[in-house]
């Protein structure tokens, strides 16, 4: 089934107000910023953003008023520091209050894993002694029923997001995709989510993907939409394709110190450009400078059966 659609159509169809959305499953790499921007443009409200570490994406969406809840371990700007919109939302309720469901990276990964594999919960040794157990009421402290000695175990309820937007190096139009480099919680998010939007840097023939099924992290039949968005992860990096735009992150971090500065930034980079190609054109030479031109190819692997 051909699932290739434009990013605006994919967001319009699959991301609804109030949905829980995984954006940034690969931690600092492969963040689908083009999708975050499009969600902002379409004015989605009350989203529950799920990501272990979102770099600046979650902060932007909070500032733009799209977010009702954050289920994550870290919100800010990885190379910059504090997330200014995150602070304003939590400390001052600006542009609106948000609910935080505190996690650590591992507890979030285990929660998505539990969702992916239909586990009733994930039992964890982490978070013991941490006040995360107090500030997030979803966790439950129990004793290990298999242990004779007292052994505390934290139960993490599964996360089954409504949508996961996942950026990959390449995909075919049927939803089969290759991702390489670190994968963060990509596999778990894809298998746990009700709907998966694949954002492919390159659109390829299905034979390319089938040539290497071990590089597939989730089966194509779980994918609802495929969007071909070259450079859609900008300003985050993607190995073999794009370097991180450190200057862009720093600029965002500086401008977002004030609500007015953030509003200006948002107008310039998100609300101004009507879509990703317009954003891309605005980046211009800066974007080309980030393109990885070197080649460091994986050693060949033979899948022949005879």
């Amino acid at each position: 089934m051909d699932k290739l659609v434009g990013l605006a159509a994919a967001v319009a169809t699959h991301v609804g107000d109030g949905d829980s959305v995984v954006l940034g499953a690969c931690l600092e790499a492969n963040i689908p910023f083009a999708a975050s921007y499009e969600i902002i443009r379409q004015g989605r409200r009350g989203l529950n953003i799920i990501a272990p570490i979102s770099d600046a994406s979650t902060d932007m969406m909070i500032g733009a008023g799209c977010v009702g809840q954050v289920t994550g371990a870290w919100v800010g700007s990885v190379s910059g520091g504090l997330g200014h919109n995150y602070r304003r939302a939590v400390e001052q309720g600006e542009p609106q209050p948000i609910t935080i469901r505190d996690h650590s990276n591992f507890s979030l990964g285990m929660a998505l894993m539990a969702g992916a594999y239909g586990m009733p919960y994930a039992p964890l040794r982490s978070l013991l002694g941490s006040d995360i157990l107090k500030s997030n009421p979803a966790f439950k402290l129990t004793e290990n029923p298999l242990s004779d000695a007292a052994e505390p175990v934290v139960l993490v309820p599964p996360l089954r997001p409504d949508v996961a937007v996942l950026a990959v190096q390449r995909a075919d139009r049927f939803g089969n995709a290759h991702l390489w480099g670190n994968s963060g919680v990509t596999q778990e998010a894809a298998l746990a989510a009700a709907r998966v939007i694949v954002m492919a840097d390159e659109l390829v023939e299905t034979e390319v993907i089938r040539s290497d099924p071990s590089r597939v992290l989730f089966p194509g039949y779980r994918v609802a939409a495929v969007c071909h968005v070259p450079g859609g992860v900008h300003p985050s990096p993607m190995v073999g394709r794009w370097r991180r735009d450190n200057a862009f992150f720093n600029d965002y971090h500086q401008q977002s110190r004030t609500a007015a500065g953030f509003a200006a930034w948002l107008d310039e980079w998100v609300l101004g450009p009507e879509d990703h190609p317009a954003y891309d054109a605005k980046l211009g030479a800066q974007r080309e400078a980030l393109r990885i031109k070197g080649q460091a190819l994986a050693a060949p692997a033979n899948y022949a059966a005879t």
Binding site: A29, W74, S79, Y86, E91, N105, S126, S135, N182
Partner: protein, 256 residues
């Protein structure tokens, strides 16, 4: 960047080298970003050629990256990695007791090594919302031992943190064990000194003072009545080999 009287290394370089000394050969270490990852490179080039670094984004790596990293997921940290996998398999090594040590930072640390990187003030109405745990709570709970990196002032080294993101020895004594955790902090490396837990209470004590600093200054900048280990002295200055290794790792002079 502030210079020490000894002109051959900056304070940050001394911190990096002190951190490198905390890594033993052959160890598996969560090295995180910034200062610790540079320390890891120094350790590999000096006394710990077989150490391996883990990154919660899903990487294991032994060789230093070929260029300065801004995040652990930068392409330069991926190319030539030993293992590119997911968060759960890599952080699962922590929970499985397969990680010898981990490095983390934070906004505040207290006398029992508890670290806050979540909330200043009441978490339901905080004065400051900090970015949160990331992987720090996991590393602090489950690494064989924890090395914390902090700037040394009274707002950061406090008597008790208001929110424990990453558990140290909790209320001290056997509180950590009773909570179900092994391990715990083994060193806090600041820009003025090194602190280490002492005795049954596991209270952080002064272990050494960096060259160019003195005990009174360190005590004055610590938020609890800081006690000294009996053998507390000066942090050994970097050796020529350590400085050479650091300059090799820190090609761009980021830390000079």
């Amino acid at each position: 960047m502030r210079r020490l009287e000894v002109p051959d290394f900056s304070t940050q370089e001394l911190m990096i080298i002190a951190a490198a000394r905390e890594i033993c050969d052959g160890e598996v270490v969560f090295v995180g970003m910034r200062l610790p990852i540079t320390a890891f490179g120094v350790a590999r080039l000096t006394h710990a050629p077989n150490a391996v670094g883990l990154f919660e984004c899903g990487l294991a790596r032994d060789l230093p990256a070929t260029e300065t990293l801004y995040t652990m997921s930068d392409p330069a940290n991926q190319q030539g990695a030993l293992w590119a996998s997911g968060l759960v398999p890599v952080m699962g090594q922590l929970q499985g007791g397969r990680v010898d040590a981990g490095f983390i930072g934070g906004a505040e640390i207290d006398r029992y090594g508890n670290i806050n990187s979540s909330y200043i003030g009441d978490h339901e109405a905080p004065k400051v919302k900090l970015p949160g745990s990331g992987g720090a709570a996991d590393i602090a709970a489950m690494a064989g031992r924890l090395i914390a990196i902090m700037n040394h002032d009274k707002r950061r080294l406090v008597d008790r943190v208001g929110y424990v993101t990453s558990p140290g020895f909790l209320a001290g004594g056997d509180a950590r064990r009773r909570a179900g955790l092994d391990g715990g902090p083994s060193a806090v490396i600041t820009d003025r000194a090194i602190l280490r837990p002492h005795g049954d209470r596991h209270e952080l004590h002064l272990a050494s003072v960096h060259p160019g600093h003195d005990v009174a200054e360190v005590v004055a900048n610590t938020g609890w009545p800081l006690q000294r280990l009996t053998d507390a002295g000066e942090t050994p200055a970097p050796t020529a080999a350590e400085v050479a290794a650091l300059r090799e790792v820190d090609r761009d002079g980021f830390w000079r």
